[in-house]
Symmetry: C2
Subunit: 423 residues, 2 copies
């Protein structure tokens, strides 16, 4: 295995070491040693000695994408119910579909399709909501691990205000969650993440238990925050003693005590943004979902200015793009739509959006999403059309982001091991 993931690959290397810049090596070299980046350079570096060379000259070599918010069971409902808003859509579509994942056979039919599409799309890292079902959540983990993808997977917890078929008994839910944690916490690629669905569907008792599990096993947390006005009102009604929606998570140790992802974060005031920044919580921006569910447009530039860490998420099935280049474009488009009515929102530039989908989100998994030495060798190789050969690499990247399909991604690697190969 060491041989398999130690090699040199040559091509048009481009990555964003920070939000404002690209680093580019046209026909440069990327040296992979035991699944980690040893060097990226214009000339063949000393680190390459003795390693086999894979010639991909002319093709783009880019860090793999990080999708920090997606619902695995909603894969089967993408695009349906888009004439509704959040709470109706949950009741009319989502909860019906999620119940199907009580069935292991059904999970074994559907989840491989999701894993294959993630690999096809060059998404090397993802943070996934499964369902309440421990057994099929583990099936999802097995399928992702077998495919060789990097992921945090959450067994979802819900014990109130939910569809009867998706409402757990609190103690049992916590016990299932701990069992799941114990089985997966030491896997090299696929690991558990504490996943209360969102405040309206968990009791105080459940949140207290989940906060304790997060602390006991030092596990990350993911949930939803301030997506929709109706949802925010509901939280106020359910937890009137807490100042803000996020105060509820905070009270139970679910807001940055361990690394935390909060999806959406659309309707926050400055104080709330300050709390996210201080606790180093990642706000996961899901631009397609913002539009599809008519939830509002996250004030991305304000969040960045407040020092909040931001990542991108596809949020299928509220969103519909597993293909992250399209989600990068959506992030730029949403910032432009917002800028039309809010002069404080400067349009996001390509380098900024690309950073969010690579190193920005990738940092949640440790050193992933960049080609600096020591980072995981998670990357993709993409076709460059012949007429683009003479362009600069940022131009080739722009064309790839805006005008490509999964079929244009020829190879994908995680820890230097192929998860998609040229046919």
């Amino acid at each position: 295995m060491e041989k398999e993931n130690s090699f040199v690959i040559q091509g048009n290397i481009i990555y964003a070491p920070d939000r404002e810049n690209f680093t580019c090596f046209k026909d440069g070299y990327l040296v992979v040693k035991q699944g980690k980046i040893a060097a990226a350079a214009q000339e063949l570096p000393a680190e390459a000695e003795g390693l086999p060379l894979r010639d991909c000259r002319g093709a783009l070599i880019v860090p793999g994408f990080a999708d920090l918010h997606l619902h695995a069971p909603q894969y089967i409902q993408i695009g349906m119910g888009m004439d509704s808003q959040l709470l109706d859509w949950l009741a009319d579509y989502t909860f019906k579909e999620e119940k199907k994942f009580a069935d292991p056979d059904f999970a074994r039919e559907i989840y491989p399709l999701l894993a294959d599409e993630l690999a096809d799309c060059g998404t090397t890292s993802s943070a996934i909501f499964a369902t309440i079902h421990q057994e099929t959540t583990e099936i999802l983990c097995e399928i992702l691990a077998e495919k060789g993808l990097r992921a945090y997977v959450g067994k979802v917890n819900m014990d109130t205000n939910s569809d009867p078929g998706l409402t757990e008994e609190t103690e049992r839910s916590l016990k299932d969650t701990e069992e799941f944690i114990l089985k997966w916490k030491d896997h090299p690629l696929v690991r558990p993440i504490i996943t209360p669905r969102f405040v309206p569907s968990v009791t105080a008792e459940m949140m207290e238990g989940l906060g304790q599990l997060a602390a006991k096993y030092q596990l990350p947390v993911q949930s939803h925050l301030s997506e929709n006005h109706g949802e925010i009102e509901l939280v106020k009604k359910l937890f009137p003693e807490d100042k803000y929606y996020l105060s509820v998570y905070d009270r139970f140790g679910l807001l940055g005590k361990t690394p935390t992802l909060m999806a959406h974060c659309i309707h926050l005031n400055e104080e709330e943004m300050g709390m996210l920044a201080e606790r180093e919580v990642y706000a996961v921006h899901c631009p397609a979902s913002n539009l599809n569910l008519n939830s509002g447009l996250m004030p991305l530039q304000k969040m960045l200015a407040a020092g909040v860490k931001v990542a991108l998420g596809s949020d299928i099935g509220g969103g519909h793009n597993l293909y992250m280049p399209q989600e990068i474009v959506r992030a730029i488009e949403v910032s432009k739509a917002r800028s039309m009515s809010d002069p404080g929102e400067k349009p996001l530039r390509l380098s900024q959006a690309f950073y969010l989908a690579t190193k920005g989100g990738g940092s949640f998994f440790g050193k992933t999403g960049s080609f600096e030495a020591g980072f995981a060798a998670d990357f993709l190789v993409a076709r460059v059309p012949s007429y683009q050969a003479g362009r600069s690499l940022p131009e080739q990247l722009a064309n790839f982001i805006y005008h490509s399909y999964p079929q244009d991604i020829l190879e994908v690697y995680v820890e230097g091991r192929p998860v998609k190969q040229a046919k």
Copy 2:
């Protein structure tokens, strides 16, 4: 040839005869006779007698898409310069690229890629801006005709305020245009359309000549209208005697004297909308371009309420989606983004957006974009994932529109002849 385009095809047939409804036949029959729809029905109809049956049960059968605004030469610049707005983007990117199409060899290299992608994407009808160059505009027509696609193609006219390498001598431009018209006006699929670039880049003399050509040969017209505030100001300065931007076109017989397409139409008042409605001008909505160039969001519902005909356009390279399902989604998303700040703008529903991209836009080409008897047999066959087999056809369609790639379109037909076939 008559045999080739007379057949019956069985599958999940769905189309939108109007903006509010779908007509569906699960495992129904579509009868094609000599390139036209003879019948669409649940049970095998009498019209099918003696015709070969193609079994596509389980797959979706949908009218082909109409893309009513795209710039062929900008195919090579998709995604680049998206950090700019219209006038800068034209100067910094577009005009540089368009000059390359003076070269017939270059056109022969690039235009087949565009034609192939249109067919791959199920775009059976399109209204295309070429460049000022007569020779390569004809090459584009030949390539589209050979591929079997339906299109209106315009040799672009520009004789002022343009890049020096793209500024024509007026009389010569009109002479070239007439030559081009005479060669292509009787082709069964690919026909000429009068194409002044936009008011800022044509003189009064040019517009007068083009208006006369449109009248003489009874040809349709396409141009741009009110995309960007800077552009509108420029028109006011250039033609101070005309009340509105569109009044300039109107004065020269270029606004609805013959069938007319006006791309964008973002910033119009009620009187202008009324003029478009009265003259039956098609407003071509290009939602991705609206966002990418930060031009503003077309008030689609207001336009429809005013009785304006609306079609969809990809507007590559201001837009980036040749794949029209993504442009259908963008139209819905843009209407939602607009609805967030403008209560008069109700979110577009899927049936409405789908209609715009099929029968709505298709009507510019005559009877295309629907499966009513007598319509052209322009349609596509798309893969339905196994887990969608039990869904209603509107749900299958929603999933296809939101979650598919060109590779999911298996076959495409124009006038009953295949332009894309399963591999």
